[in-house]
Amino acid sequence: MAEIKKPKLAVWKFASCDGCQLSLLDCEDELLAVAESVQIANFPEASREIIKGPYDISLVEGSITTPHDAERIHRIRRQSRLLITIGACATAGGIQALRNFTSVDSYVTTVYATPAYISTLKKSTPISEHVPVDFELRGCPVNKYQLLEVINAYLNGRRPNTPPHSVCMECKSKGLVCVAVAQKTVCMGPLTHAGCGALCPEYNRGCFGCYGPKETPNTASLAAWWREHGEKNTDIMRSFRGFNAYAEPFRKESEAHENI
């Protein structure tokens, strides 16, 4: 197999914290195997070397927040056979999409000494609003095993095993005790896409919804249940305004609890 041309893999960064790319570096042992199976053509967190495109697989981290990035993603798309977004920013706009619910100018004037230097878009948007995306990997940050699974699946021409069901299924499969039922904790697990392995419930906390909406999320029903059990509308709104605030089902539910 050795002399067969290895697929070229590139990692691209947009508005993000680098956490998802770091998940790839965090693979350590497995990273060597990945490096043997692919040619790492662009991965600024790991190496300064940049190999020219086109690329077989582009992993895109981060959301689109500037006019320049809105351009750049098109160039990357043109050079990539497969474009895979990694993480909540690239898939749903990220935590920075909180600006979408207010005026970004107010943030800019509060945060920056010289607002005039800042050129930014009014909204933080997912990659899929700009170019076609072949696969979206969820999470804030992504789970490194899922990231490996996605790369592995594409190398082997199969579908990745990243089921879109609830976090509850992972929670129960691990034999964890439900914090919502046993401790009356607000938990986003029943609405949230699996992938983290029920990390928060495992540490006795409610799920924060880092992986975004699961398939067919019934946000209204759970929000109504919380409401009946004494949660305030502002708190319910905030539960949906996390890393995936701009993912449509979460966005709509948060808006339903705004200013009431």
Binding site: E30, E36, P163
Partner: protein, 377 residues
């Protein structure tokens, strides 16, 4: 297999239960029993009676479960928790085989030779295991891994004297007293100032173990007390299910408007199916090594509440929440009977307690009552 005559009961002082655990260990069993962990009573490996949830009970209602101190120090004074024995006999995730590209030969996973002794199995749970036996062991597509674990297991049942508010086994004829399917059966007696158990056996394995204990025969008074406790437990159960009626209602009302209401409430989170001791659905996932030289097939729990469960080429058959809830309830309480000759529900109440929005099967089934065949037609 078992003698028809009623097995005679003996008295086991609480201090002697440890000896049973020790004897089981000597015979190579891994003993699994109840213990308090993370605000619940769960099932895990146990080596000493010290680990039992002495003095704790569970207070349950739709969507809520709380542990509470009891007035006494009973070891089995609770009902059922989030775990069930299913997770040992039919694990949530299991590798089935490995296959190599070179030879294209599948290598089955070596059999799990664990011999489990389950301590504290409730009557409803024995019924649930009997139901899974029909699916995994006695049917045309037997699962060798399940069959082996199950046939090797030793069951120490405990009669329920403290049902939860969510229990409805008495109306399903699956409890609160265990009648068969166990090796040893305990009834905890603590309110007489002494802490002891009535103990009897219903299998050769159970009798052999009891034979090593040299226990006194139970007094008629103690037996009577055991019967009283069971009768009191049955009386305490307020939730009910009329299984035959439920089946008729469901089969007659596939288009009832109440399904839409249920669809609006249900989260499709699948918690009910995960905790249900009879639910048996699984799916398989294939994984490869990075180089593609080897592949593995894994089985994991699935649920009729996932979209993938009803996906066939071209789309999902049950894409609405209402359709998925209807599938679960109708299968569990109606078509299961046609398929396996029994209801798929044993009345354990887990799906009621562990539903994050408290959907209660015993209550929902009554919503189909006003519109029956005559009025719907």
């Amino acid at each position: 297999m078992n003698k028809k005559s009623k097995p005679s009961a003996y008295t086991l002082p609480a201090s002697q239960l440890q000896k049973i655990i020790d004897l089981l260990h000597e015979q190579g069993y891994t003993v699994i029993g109840p213990q308090r962990q993370d605000n619940a009573i769960i099932y895990d490996e146990i080596t000493s009676t010290d680990a039992l949830p002495a003095g704790w009970t569970d207070v349950q209602e739709g969507g809520t479960y709380q542990l509470q101190r009891r007035d006494d120090d009973a070891w089995f004074g609770y009902a059922v928790g989030p775990h069930s024995w299913k997770q040992f006999l039919f694990p949530a995730k299991k590798k089935l085989f490995t296959i190599e590209r070179e030879t294209f030969r599948a290598q089955a996973e070596p059999a799990d030779k664990t011999r489990y002794a389950f301590l504290g199995v409730r009557s409803c749970e024995l019924h649930a295991i009997a139901i899974q036996d029909k699916v995994f062991r006695d049917g045309p597509y037997a699962d060798p891994a399940y069959s082996r674990l199950r046939n090797n297991a030793f069951f120490i049942a405990v009669n329920c004297t403290e049902p939860a508010a969510t229990c409805f086994c008495s109306s399903m004829n699956t409890g609160p007293g265990a009648e068969s399917g166990y090796d040893l059966l305990l009834t905890e007696l603590i309110d007489s100032g002494q802490h002891e158990f009535l103990i009897s056996s219903a299998s050769a394995k159970g009798r052999a173990l009891l034979g090593k204990m040299e226990l006194p025969e139970a007094t008629p008074a103690a037996r009577e007390r055991g019967q009283e406790l069971l009768a009191r437990a049955a009386d305490k159960m307020h939730r009910r299910m009329d299984a035959e009626k439920a089946r008729k209602l469901l089969l007659a009302n596939p288009e009832h408007p109440h399904w839409q209401e249920l669809g609006a409430r249900c989260l499709s989170c699948a918690n009910c199916t995960m905790v249900c001791p009879t639910c048996f659905c699984s799916t398989v996932e294939d994984v490869t090594s990075l180089t593609g030289d080897t592949a593995e097939r894994w089985r994991r729990w699935d649920s009729c509440f996932t979209m993938g469960h009803s996906y066939i080429h071209g789309g999902h058959i049950r894409s609405s929440g209402a359709a998925r809830y209807r599938q679960w309830l109708t299968h569990k309480l109606a078509t299961w009977v046609d398929q396996f000759g029994v209801s798929g529900c044993v009345g354990c109440g887990r799906c009621i307690t562990w539903c994050p929005v408290a959907i209660d099967v015993t209550e929902e089934i009554t919503k189909f009552e006003p519109v029956t065949q005559e009025t719907a037609a």
